[in-house]
């Protein structure tokens, strides 16, 4: 009963906020609706018993990725009328994408009807023990059977990160940076002088 109610609550809110992402007039509102739909998707994951994935969804997507989206959208000066202008021109493309997505969903549903994919490997060597918690099961698969793929993904991310830094990093001339060690080493007697000027004389620095 509670599960069913919360499933419908999360599902309806996910779809509604997903619709609001494209309906909202203001792009900042769109991003906020997107965050709402991420959050409700995390709720659905919890209902499926995948609490680890749910928490990661909130930490990574809501906590980091969406903040970046929000940042960019707030900074950009977006002209709404210009965005609307391409609607008719891009309509066929949008329709095509929607058709592809619908076909994929239908194919997926048909495939599930034939029986879902068993977790682990075909020979059953990496099957997940039933009494294991979510995190441990993922850990066993990720760091056991799929260690090589995991490391390959890590190297891929590292290369992407190095690439992003190389692309955006540039040396600017004439910048006076702060040398923190020198700032910390500075003592009051090097930085200040105590003077007693006579009246009307002033101070020579």
């Amino acid at each position: 009963m509670i599960t069913v109610l919360s499933f419908y609550l999360f599902a309806v809110l996910t779809i509604l906020s997903g619709a609001m992402v494209i309906m909202a007039r203001n792009p900042v509102h769109s991003v906020l609706w997107l965050i709402m739909s991420f959050f409700n998707a995390a709720g659905l994951m919890v209902l499926l018993g995948a609490e680890f994935i749910a928490m990661l969804l909130v930490i990574v997507y809501v906590g980091a990725v969406a903040v970046l989206f929000l940042f960019v959208v707030m900074m950009l000066n977006i002209d709404f009328s210009e965005l609307r202008a391409g609607f008719i021109k891009n309509f066929p493309l949008g329709l095509l994408l929607a058709a592809v997505l619908l076909a994929e969903v239908l194919i997926g549903l048909g495939a599930v009807g034939q029986g879902g994919i068993a977790l682990g490997t075909p020979d059953g060597s990496a099957a997940v023990p039933a009494d294991m918690s979510n995190i441990k099961a993922i850990g066993h698969l990720l760091y056991g059977k799929y260690l090589f793929l995991f490391e390959a993904a890590g190297i891929l991310l590292l290369v992407a990160m190095v690439g992003a830094i190389v692309l955006t990093h540039r040396k600017r001339g004439g910048v006076r940076g702060q040398i923190v060690s020198r700032q910390n080493a500075r003592r009051p007697d090097e930085a200040t002088v105590n003077m007693k000027p006579e009246v009307g004389k002033g101070v020579q620095l």
Binding site: M1, I2, N26, V28, H29, L32, I35, E51, F52, M55, L56, V58, I59, V62, G63, A64, V67, L70, F71, M74, S133, N134, I135, Q178, V180
Partner: protein
């Protein structure tokens, strides 16, 4: 608690009542302690500045926070003309709600915990990463320069320090072998020499405890990292346009967050509801009193720092987060995992 109500009611209703009762049992005392801790905070600053602090309302000024609360409650909420109204009012509610949500997984003793979930620590991380939205939305929807600057500072600051907090928590999780909050507390029992309860007594984890305390100050935007409210530069930061209850919700949320950070410090590094020493008579004192005592001790440190340390510059803040805490915590993840592998011979 669900079983207790099931004597009279079907499962669904007893679950609902038990959950709501549990939430109220945590949230109401929390609100009361927030009001009292604001008073404590002001008294501590006053003592360090050789002043008297609040001493007029009630005996020793004890009722000062309630008088302030009543005052803001009776004031008018002003929404600026250019503001995005819905979001402007949503932002303080969001901050306040998020500040309360994380308390669901804090264990008050072996059994008193609202949601004893497998991923307790991850839940805390997830909820604390939501906290930034209250600030960003406030800054944007106010449609004013200073709140917007403040919102950008706040989000940069919180994201930076969450990275090192994540690594620090990984060290704790590796020692405990679980994400469950009660599991982490119980694993700290007899941690050092069978006598001291708490990871903080472990020389390998003590630096992590100190770094977590400092990162916690940055994460909750407390002094010396309160750049979002730097009154010399930004008026009052993201709260500039807020008045009456919407302002008070920020205030309460901020202090609830500070208390949460103190509770996390106590739970993750100093044994939570366990007494600090493994000695039977100390267990006669109930667990929640130990936890409250530890929270109070950490809150005193927060207040002490606020009263004595000048505010950081923005570049110093970023340097500390990215160039000092991040490499050091990453190094400690390697050192701790190496030590554990060597000890366990894995």
């Amino acid at each position: 608690m669900t079983e207790f109500f099931q004597q009279w009611l079907p499962y669904e209703w007893s679950w609902l009542i038990a959950t709501v009762a549990g939430i109220l049992l945590i949230a109401l005392p929390l609100m009361l302690s927030v009001a009292m801790i604001i008073y404590v905070d002001r008294k501590v600053w006053a003592a360090m500045a050789l002043r008297r602090g609040p001493n007029v309302v009630g005996p020793w000024g004890l009722l000062q926070s309630f008088a302030d609360g009543l005052k803001v409650f009776l004031q008018e909420t002003i929404v600026p003309a250019g503001a995005s109204k819905g979001l402007f009012l949503l932002a303080p509610i969001l901050t306040f709600t998020v500040a309360l949500m994380a308390w669901a997984v804090i264990p008050f003793n072996g059994r008193a915990i609202l949601a004893d979930i497998n991923v307790g620590l991850l839940y805390v991380l997830a909820i604390s990463s939501l906290g930034v939205y209250g600030t960003i939305i406030a800054g944007w929807s106010s449609n004013s320069k200073y709140p917007f600057f403040s919102a950008m500072r706040a989000s940069a600051q919180m994201i930076s320090y969450e990275v090192s907090i994540g690594f620090i928590l990984i060290c704790v999780v590796m020692y405990a072998g679980t994400f469950q909050m009660n599991g982490i507390v119980l694993d700290q029992r007899e941690h050092i020499l069978g006598l001291f309860n708490g990871y903080g007594f472990n020389p390998l984890l003590f630096p992590m405890a100190v770094m977590f305390l400092i990162s916690g100050m940055a994460e909750t935007q407390r002094a010396p990292f309160d750049l979002t409210e730097a009154e010399s530069e930004l008026v009052a930061g993201y709260q500039t346009e807020y008045s009456s209850m919407s302002f008070a919700l920020y205030w309460l949320g901020e202090y609830a967050n500070v208390l949460l950070m103190c509770a996390l410090n106590a739970t993750l590094f100093w044994g939570g509801w366990l007494p600090p020493l493994e000695w039977a008579p100390l267990y006669w004192i109930p667990g929640w009193i130990w936890l409250f005592g530890k929270i109070f001790a950490f809150f005193f440190i927060f207040s002490w720092v606020k009263a004595t340390v000048p505010r950081y510059r923005y570049d110093q803040l970023m340097r500390l987060g990215w160039k000092v805490f991040l490499p050091v915590s990453l190094l400690f993840v390697c050192v701790v995992s190496g030590w554990l592998m060597w000890r366990q011979g894995a």
